[in-house]
Symmetry: D2
Subunit: 383 residues, 4 copies
């Protein structure tokens, strides 16, 4: 293992996503037999002081205060983008043009136009690129896909996906960046709805053809955040307008005829991170809820549902970790993602999900918004 | 108790619904202190032989082979309609005109026009009338309504209702009457979708303003049933067209602004009778699944969900039965329904749900069908 | 069906058990095709007024105020004993000697000596006799036994049984008859512990060889009940000694080498009627909790547990009732019990569980008490 | 953070426990604001080649092939013992005598005598010492303890603990070191039973006064392992005797009068790592199952159980990690343990659980073995 080629990583952003990506870069080599040994070379952030503190805590060797400098560095071969969606396109395109490999947080971009530009850049670049839909690397979700591929549930009739949270139920929760359209692109739709759209398309191997949608903003204005950098921001007296959706519901048809329903909301009191998906097929069914992320429920048809504890050595990713019944957590999905990305970089394979997959999700989100604006009329994703 | 006034009941139909209604008529007096003692006077069915056998087994004193005769009898004050939807309007109107009280299985009728005629007949008649949405009498659902009325979950933001079954997943399952539009009016939509629409409106005290819908018939033709009288019918070689929906999905808005999603399907492999509803409010949430009918899940906001075993003496209907933890079953919902109906008849109160409530559900079903036919466009229920 | 032979039933006691038995006698013929049609002939109770009211409500044709009169009556062929345990032996023996069939509530008696006398009486009598361990007729428990018999879980290694309730956690709950040794024989041990001992022996087809036990009375004295007739009795100021156990724990060995643990308590706050049993075998496992009585959890070994909704037509007893997913309740276990009893009476077969089965449970209870009194020393059941 | 004092760590053993401890040492500083920065200085193992490979993968700077050398090194201030139980005493005592801080895997030792010697060594040493009962650091278990301390469940009546696994159900599973008494001390009893004894004592703040026990070895001999170093060892043709228990059951009394039951087994088919504990108190109850490690079930008395997702910022340890609903995994319990240990070392506080706590557990295990050997007689722990 000591003779593995080292590959330098530069990460931009050190908030929630930066912290979890750092843990993945730090841990991946201790569990997976990798062809490349990642070196946590550079962390970029705007504030020198804060970036230095973050680098020290998270284990990055050096810092930059301008991401443009990071992208140019010779000791950086992989650029990991953990910033809000409004900067994804600019950074990713610059990094790809600089010959770097790019892993970019989701959603790929805030608009379809940006996402298209990123796909174009990726197509012409020597580097590999991946959009970080980490839920694909929940072992239970990867196992669900395997079951579908093996035909265990037959022809899929129904997809039923929900992503339910409750962190902004309180109308006094402040106007953080995730509630501002210019920063976040959309609200629950892009932040968490994107995950269930990608997961549904990933597990089924199909894509959404069209949707009918409703969106809503329940709390129209909120206290301005004294500092809008994180979920934990505190409120001030002044108020500002919430410019994104609080919830989005849509129904649609998948490419092989399945009916699908989706709901993303931050107003489901008591649901903390209920990213749920159920598939019903002609031969069986599968059900998952991230609040119990180590479980996959499988019905072989006829009978009931089996609770599979997805902690067996032959389950996806799991053999690298602990004995059966010793569960994994949220962060492991990122470790798995980076493991797959490093393998793709080493072998020259195309990482999955690609920027094109990210664009496909983006088109769904845009179709949702168009449908909601147009009387929920059925709207084709590809239009 | 022995000096209670006796009231004669005549029931039409003795299949699935007739059997469960009979058990309710037979049991209700032993558990509830009723102002009226029901007498199981007459059972009507077309076949003399079968009706006699059913009457003997189910405990009816006499039979008729023509419901018109039953409706005329002096020893019948209550007419209980347990036939398929296509005959509801004719029977109910005749019974009301004959001065009888009427309890009618759901859906109220197969069309809005029929339902309107029934409401008109009920309005002018001396008898009481009720549509038998029995799920209102699941103690957990009645408790959910109580919690909403008490303000325990605050302003409702989301209604999420599903009714999932799997009994026709097999394409060789025969073309029973429930799969024929002329008999059943619609498929999953009217049979089970009607229940979740009524339950959602009942628990929230709101009504659906409009919907956007998709419907689908996955299996277009099926073997003709040698006999189409029951779910257990056996298949023959000839095939016939399935003229109803296999599944219906719709999203919409409730009268106070909540977003709502509904799904009714008979193709959810592994789900046997998953009639589920979840409400998320500004202060808390409630969740129910009929597959665990003695449980209601309640979140008081902030924390998680409490599993309430709805078997306490102060829970709706429960005090009449067994000690805590000794659950009830499906049939008890009918016993409760008949208890409430008898009390309304005795006191002169209007039973709930009324024919008008049944019409309201019917209008939703019709809006669903119009929306599905019109590109899922948002369709007002009252149009 | 109308030509079935009628058989007269006389029931003694009309409290909790009498009410549920009545519902079973009233309903059984409507659902099961029986060789004998039970006639609810006579109800016996000490108070004429109360017994008359109970008979009117529960549907008994006549009453007696002395059970000895009931036992003599020609219109009674079956005697159903629903009294506290201290009167079981006397009544059952008299009824058997009078040539009646006897169904007797559990525990069979309050002492081994009484139970032995009952077994002896049953052995020499023309009538059939059964002890009413109703939990054997929970469809899920009957299905568990079927799975064990079919070898689906292999050689049994572990039995893990608990019966958890919480109705006397409050020290102000009054001293009802179930808390008095002279009436009830024992406390949690005989009342609910008896059920899990019987269920464990029934499902496994084995019996307990010996036990090591601990018992405890947490609340030593309680307010005297103004009236000690029911669970709902109200408290007075005076206090009396609690003379039975509040909880009993015991571990032991089954006849084929399985290790077994049992716990019966009325002090498990939040557990209402958690009658639970889990079996682990060399090939699989089974788990059940009465608080979700329509579910059986089955592990085929290797994988996880499947939640079987025990509502399919081919599940024990279930075909007589409703479609899949439409669950049964507590009372149905009694209906099933009476159905099996009537069939045994009609065919001349020996009903199960027999008085000898009841005695076997009684011997276990006695061994538990001896072990608890003797330093938890391992105590043979047959000594 | 960069000016924190660095403290050198030397770890002995790199199998399962060594891997998870390494992940904890590697991660702890990135999430917790620690007074000391651990440096992963030295890894000790017998095979130079394997130890070097492990050190490279797990991130240790140097290696030793003799733990005695590690214990002497000046760049090691903390010795982390991850070997089987038979070497714990010798290593720990040597390390303490060398002035090191010691964290030792559980069980503390294979015998009470060894454990006593370790406690004596710890008492006289300048270094801090801790036994690694990691389950105390499951956030849900730490929250359970907090609830007990706050009096939320009142006076405890029942402790019900199980640790159920199934990894040796197959009789062809080889004779690994964990099945050999000279290496492992005992079987399920010491390996997993120790955890539930410690957890029960930790959460309740009480200790076990005495026990009555049964133990069993279901499979008496097994194929010799070609290599007995890990769980994954492969079998050979020769067989050897299993010298430890496969399962242990015991019941007992806690210091404040609660009744307690414990079961540890490796033969519970379908249970992978079901480390479960339930407490019933006079005011409420708590229940936990490690197979759903991010959940704690709490009953406030009267009602049902609330499923608390233990992922809120104010839950123990959780604030350092991810947003609500984003669960943790098995390895985090070790990270929390090391965080607490480092804080104790820095502040001079006594770490918990101490070697004395480990001895207390050891005494319980020994009492279990004595009771099992002596007819399950009730056996005092302190004798």
């Amino acid at each position: 293992m000591s003779d593995r080629t080292t590959i330098g990583v530069g990460m931009i952003g050190y908030a929630f996503m930066g912290r979890v990506h750092s843990q993945a870069w730090r841990s991946v080599g201790a569990f997976f037999d990798l062809p490349l040994a990642p070196r946590m070379a550079v962390l970029a952030g705007r504030s020198k002081e804060r970036t230095e503190a973050a680098a020290a805590q998270l284990g990055w060797a050096d810092i930059e205060t301008d991401w443009r400098e990071l992208v140019k560095r010779d000791d950086v071969q992989i650029v990991d983008i953990c910033t809000p969606g409004d900067s994804h396109a600019e950074i990713a395109i610059a990094a790809l043009q600089a010959g770097k490999h790019v892993i970019c947080e989701k959603p790929l971009a805030n608009t379809v136009a940006e996402a298209e530009a990123m796909v174009a850049a990726a197509a012409g670049a020597p580097g590999k690129s991946m959009v970080a839909f980490n839920y694909r690397r929940v072992p239970a979700i990867a196992l669900a896909r395997r079951y579908v591929e093996e035909g265990r549930i037959g022809e899929i009739r129904h997809v039923r996906a929900q992503y339910l949270q409750d962190w902004i139920v309180d109308p006094e929760f402040p106007l953080v960046w995730r509630l501002q359209k210019d920063k976040a692109g959309s609200g629950a739709l892009g932040d968490i709805g994107a995950h269930i759209v990608d997961a549904a398309q990933f597990i089924t191997g199909q894509h959404l053809l069209g949707v009918s949608a409703l969106t809503e903003t329940f709390v129209k204005e909120r206290p301005l955040a004294a500092e809008s950098a994180g979920l934990g921001a505190t409120a001030s007296d002044a108020k500002g307008e919430v410019t994104v959706d609080d919830a989005a519901l849509f129904i649609g048809r998948m490419s092989d005829g399945a009916l699908a329903s989706f709901e993303a909301t931050r107003f489901a009191n008591g649901r903390k991170n209920a990213m749920r998906i159920e598939l019903n097929g002609s031969r069986g069914s599968l059900a998952f809820d991230f609040e119990a992320m180590n479980e996959l429920w499988f019905s072989a048809g006829g009978g009931g549902f089996e609770r599979i504890l997805v902690t067996e050595p032959d389950h996806p990713y799991v053999g690298a970790w602990w004995p059966p019944g010793h569960g994994l957590g949220y962060e492991h999905t990122f470790t798995h993602e980076i493991k797959d990305f490093l393998e793709a970089v080493a072998t020259g394979a195309d990482p999955s999900p690609s920027f094109a997959d990210g664009l496909r999700v983006q088109r769904v989100l845009e179709a949702v918004e168009r449908s909601a604006a147009d009387g929920s009329r059925y709207t084709n994703v590809e239009d």
